[in-house]
Symmetry: C2
Subunit: 227 residues, 2 copies
């Protein structure tokens, strides 16, 4: 809206010309023609991060799962459904990115089998075998010449501990942690930014305001990292 546009105009352009690749939304893993596995991500935080990156002057590529929100005017929008499609899009884009921000709630697992017809209902229980999906963020962070990588971690308990473990394991300079129960689908959530200097707490606020603070923090770390 107009207020956002005016605010964006007056933001410092601390990412001027930087190429930022962002994933957002859930992914959907088909079981058959109609059924599938997904998660409750609305895509709000990912879109807010994309908007904040635009406002900071970045050139933004957004890879986004099935959501129903209006998209910010990013430079390149790639809409995908499954994790494997998101992975393929990220592989295509990552070599031309300075910063990679993984906000998407990627489905960790997908059905071992996918059926190209609608399975018939029976009275019996059925057993679904789920296999791990590729870890897109881990792949990108492990590249020989990776972009500056930022992860998001939605946890329901021991939020800071699990998020810091994830950051160390994936060798990320920064991870943004939140409480999934509080955050999902809402416009507000408290965030904890975890980096090599420790933890930084951002109190509960509008996701757009949060996203601008997160982007400013990313830009600061990125400059230090490059410099």
């Amino acid at each position: 809206n107009l207020l956002d546009a005016v605010q964006s105009f007056f933001q410092p352009k601390y990412l001027d010309g930087r190429r930022v690749l962002i994933t957002a939304g859930p992914t959907f893993e088909a079981i058959d023609t109609v059924r599938g596995l997904t998660n409750r991500s609305s895509g709000k935080m990912g879109l807010a991060i994309a908007q904040a990156a635009l406002a900071a002057g970045a050139q933004v590529t957004l890879v986004c799962g099935p959501i129903c929100l209006p998209f910010p005017a990013v430079h390149k929008l790639i809409r995908i459904v499954s994790t494997e499609e998101m992975f393929a899009a990220v592989k295509d884009e990552v070599s031309s990115s300075d910063i990679f921000i993984s906000v998407a709630a990627v489905a960790d697992y997908r059905p071992a089998e996918q059926h190209s017809f609608k399975l018939k209902k029976t009275a019996a229980d059925i057993t679904l075998t789920l296999i791990p999906n590729p870890d897109i963020l881990q792949y990108v962070a492990s590249l020989s010449n990776p972009p500056f990588c930022v992860g998001f971690a939605a946890e329901t308990d021991a939020v800071q501990q699990y998020a810091e473990e994830k950051r160390k394991r994936k060798k990320l300079p920064l991870i943004v942690a939140n409480n999934a129960v509080e955050a999902i689908g809402t416009n507000e959530s408290a965030l904890i930014l975890l980096d090599d200097d420790g933890s930084h707490y951002l109190p509960r606020a509008d996701k757009n305001a949060q996203a601008r603070l997160v982007m400013a923090h990313i830009a600061g770390l990125y400059d230090k990292h490059k410099g």
Copy 2:
């Protein structure tokens, strides 16, 4: 919009005062705090049916799963997430309904276990046991004094055969069949209406136009049924 409002105004009020209970959208079955099973229903057809029932003068109660479309101004809107929640809402409303139209793409199965925390990802495959959900339409159609029941069947092959089998098995006066691959998420689909007189083919058209024809057919059968 205005055109819809004007068209609705000039529709014959062949369901004046009839109480119509409609289910719409997908249901979502939680696996844990964030993950779940769902299906690709957009809710478009259910909302079009609700709008057509309103235009025909009915008093409409809509029980609807998680969708992201604007709702028509029904008399009572009950938003649910899981199939069990939809079932509870239908049980509450059915005794005060003359007509029950089951458009929802109800999840046939739900996870045997639901976790109140976010499961951690591991490198191993996982096995999910799914148990059959209650069949809401079958329950309603089997009541001793059921409302006039209409089912929807989205099939991917042998559409007419599977739909007619479903109609016979659930003892429904009418079932509306379509091809799931063609119909899901789109604004247009061809429909086949199956009743005791045989099959009636409605060619591909806008879902709102289709819904008005379906409601007119329902009203005709309902009058014959009551009369």
